[in-house]
Amino acid sequence: MTETTGVRGARMSHSGGTSGRPALRGGQGNASPARRQRLQAPGLPWILPALVLGVGLIYYCIGYTGYMSTLNWDGASPNPESVGLNNYVRIFTSDPVFWKAVWHTVVFFVVTFVAQTALGVIFAVMMHSRIKLGILYKVVVFVPVVLAPAIMAPVFRQMFSINGQFNWLLEHVGLGALVQPWIGQESTALPVIMAITIWQWTGLTFVLYFAAMSQIDQSMLEAARIDGAGNFRTLVSIIWPSLRGTTVALAILGAIGALKTFDVPWLVTIAGPNNATQFLGTYIYQMTIQLAHVGYGAALSIILLLVALAIAIILQVVGRERTREKKGAR
């Protein structure tokens, strides 16, 4: 979206048009190209600090992490051993925990994205229906987004422990047979982590869908009604297709968020039991900090970075192609 705007701005600038963006530069849209170039120069010092910070810190650190990934190093020794690409080879060929973490990330993304999207759309549609106490519901749905995971983690640890409130609730509603140590066994620990994440982030999904729905042309909805579409048909055929941009953006954010997942699994289950809630973020932390395999952790970080980039690009491309197809069909 940003890129498209930039391209449009550049076109306007080259054409020397008088409307839109050139006017933002002090109404000098009619200046000659030479004059305009001289005027652009003072912009550089303004962006220089951000440029230097961006390149000097972010890209430098990425480059340095790439270098560290070729070392066998504990992060403290003055003489790290260069091992070339051995860390990467080990990760891909003989590290079952890495593949477990990758699998958990995929499952986590699919489940949380689908659930959050479904709940977000449902809540947004409900809130657009002018229900009573709508503002109160909006606050209730959104509050988990602003609560820090570090604050909520002990609550969830207590809630899902064998003597916790969740089991107490099950017992008191006649579902005592389902009582179990939710975060103390491999089969249920990951679903608990996903449930917590869904609880935490559905509010954001809801807000974005709510805003996107406000942009839908009212006449389209009225036309659908006149054509005899009911609520469900309107939702599926009019509202949902209009939310494609928001959905793609949420998918990208969700995928990158899944790759970066750390706080909830670490604070609630310490990535266990038996690596049942191990993610790439927690594994990098364990390797780098707890086990002092800084080179190996750096290699995991580089893989994480590349996967995040690849996913963002793929989702962007897929999103654009679908948008083009849609426009072509019209």
């Binding site: 120069a41 003072p42 550089l44 010092p45 220089l48 600090p49 230097v52 910070l53 390149v55 000097g56 810190l57 430098y60 340095y64 066998n72 504990d74 992060g75 403290a76 020794s77 003055p78 640890r157 422990s161 064998i162 003597n163 179990q180 140590p181 939710w182 975060i183 103390g184 066994q185 491999e186 620990a189 289950t269 310490i270 266990g272 039991p273 038996n274 690596n275 364990q286 900090i289 707890q290 086990l291 002092a292």
Partner: protein
């Protein structure tokens, strides 16, 4: 708004200069500085002490107040860093010039990872206790703090594990005797369960405490084998370890271990469950002795979330002979922690004075001893029981004093011989066997592979 740059050349020069400057700052921040600190005065200055223990800052303040009675011109600032954040915090801090003057170390991975940033404390110990200083300190504490021939820290206290602590009131209430065998342990837990009372609680998601239980079981199967394997003189996939892991599994299947143990942490989960009376037994070592006292027990119960805390007597018992081989499970221990002096410290002399006072003087060690949290390492110093008030002296005094006497002869290390990789492998073995995703044999094989890989990596 215009900035006074007239030519591209000026702009480029400035841009390059800014880039070089920022990069240099970044590189300077990232690079290490091997400069040694300065010595300074031994009786004056400020000492910054970072550690995960004492976990209670009031306790640290008490140490410092006692120290300041003798050295009033040395100001000591204690910074408490949680054990879970300790490695992440200390690595960059010690590599920089802004780290602590004195920092905590414990045997095993900490000594191996951070010992390079510490002064050799052997000359300090010699100056304080004479040339035969080693004979005046608990030997297990000295060996645990020594790495590659260097005494990385002066041992302040030592801790020992291999004991269970029981809630005496609950055992009395249900007319039960402390278990001495696996069958008796199962029977005790059955009785508790029938009465809706939790039996044994362990935070099995943490490697250190899993190791304590596993080492205790191994000592019941074959005394001394664990230590032999830790030294690399025996294999972890030996039938002894397979049997050990089988008994560990039995604790889960027979109902001794509480449900959900694999997801629980020893602190705070298991500790709070025991202190609030929900469970009657817990696997803890000599550091738990402090809760035998009325004051510490009341504070601990209150901290566990019980309003109007009423203390109850806790009693240490020997780990049961779970293998049925007739072996008394030996205890094992290490220096609990020691005080290291950072080689980059600018107040090294004052820092050494502080570490020396706590670790090698009778006054300093008496303060440690009376806390009953960690046992003093200086020989001849004992807790002053005339000033310590038990919850119920009639049932606690004898077993507690017996325990403190017994540890004097312990010679099996707890963590000192294990590095972080092996400890991680223990956690994986304990959890995979406990959850049933691996057999004891498979877990033992994986453990041996991890030990071999760690040995190869460490040369």
């Amino acid at each position: 708004m215009h900035l006074p740059f007239r030519s591209k050349k000026t702009l480029r020069t400035l841009a390059v200069a800014a880039m070089v400057g920022m990069t240099a700052v970044g590189l300077a921040a990232c690079s290490s500085n091997d400069n040694q600190g300065s010595s300074g005065s031994a009786t004056k200055g400020t000492v910054n002490w970072w550690g995960w223990t004492p976990t209670n800052t009031d306790e640290a303040k008490d140490f410092i107040a006692q120290f300041n009675k003798k050295y009033p011109d040395i100001k000591v600032n204690f910074k408490l860093i949680g054990i879970s954040d300790y490695q992440a915090t200390m690595r960059p801090a010690l590599a920089s010039n802004g780290g602590p003057d004195v920092f905590d170390l414990q045997p095993g991975s900490y000594v191996q990872q951070f010992g390079t940033y510490a002064e050799d404390m052997a000359p300090v110990a010699k100056s304080a206790l004479g040339s035969d200083w080693k004979s005046k300190i608990a030997p297990i504490a000295v060996s645990g703090m020594t790495y590659k021939g260097k005494l990385t820290a002066l041992p302040v206290g030592s801790t020992y594990a291999g004991t269970l602590w029981i809630n005496h009131d609950l055992f009395t209430k249900y007319d039960l005797q402390p278990p001495k065998t696996l069958d008796e342990w199962k029977h005790v837990c059955q009785v508790f369960e029938q009465n809706g009372q939790g039996c044994f609680v362990q935070g099995a998601s943490q490697e250190g405490f899993d190791q304590d239980t596993l080492q205790s079981i191994a000592n019941s199967v074959k005394p001394g084998y664990w230590t032999k394997a830790s030294k690399g003189k025996a294999k972890w996939n030996d039938p002894t370890m397979v049997k050990t892991l089988s008994i560990w599994k039995d604790l889960f299947t027979s109902g001794i271990m509480q449900k959900g143990a694999l997801g629980a942490q020893q602190y705070p989960d298991a500790n709070n469950q025991f202190l609030t009376g929900k469970y009657a037994m817990v696997m803890m070592g000599t550091w738990y002795t402090q809760y035998a006292t009325e004051k510490a027990m009341t504070e601990a119960i209150s901290a566990a979330g019980v309003a109007g805390a009423k203390p109850f007597p806790i009693v240490p018992i020997a780990f049961p002979d779970v293998a049925g081989n007739g072996n008394t499970s030996e205890m094992f221990g290490d220096a609990d922690y020691g005080l290291a002096v950072a080689s980059k410290s600018k107040n090294r002399a004052a820092a050494e004075t502080f570490a020396k006072w706590i670790a090698t003087t009778k006054q300093g060690q008496q303060v440690i001893a009376n806390r009953l949290d960690t046992l003093p390492t200086l020989k001849g110093v004992q807790p002053d029981f005339t000033t310590i008030k038990f919850v119920d002296p009639s049932v606690q005094e004898t077993p507690v004093t017996d325990l403190l006497k017994k540890v004097g002869s312990v010679n099996e290390p707890r963590f000192a011989l294990l590095n972080a990789d092996i400890e991680n492998a223990f956690l994986a073995a304990a959890q995979s066997v406990g959850s049933g995703s691996a057999t004891p044999q498979q877990a033992a094989e994986t453990l041996q592979q991890a030990a071999q890989a760690a040995a190869a990596a460490n040369g």
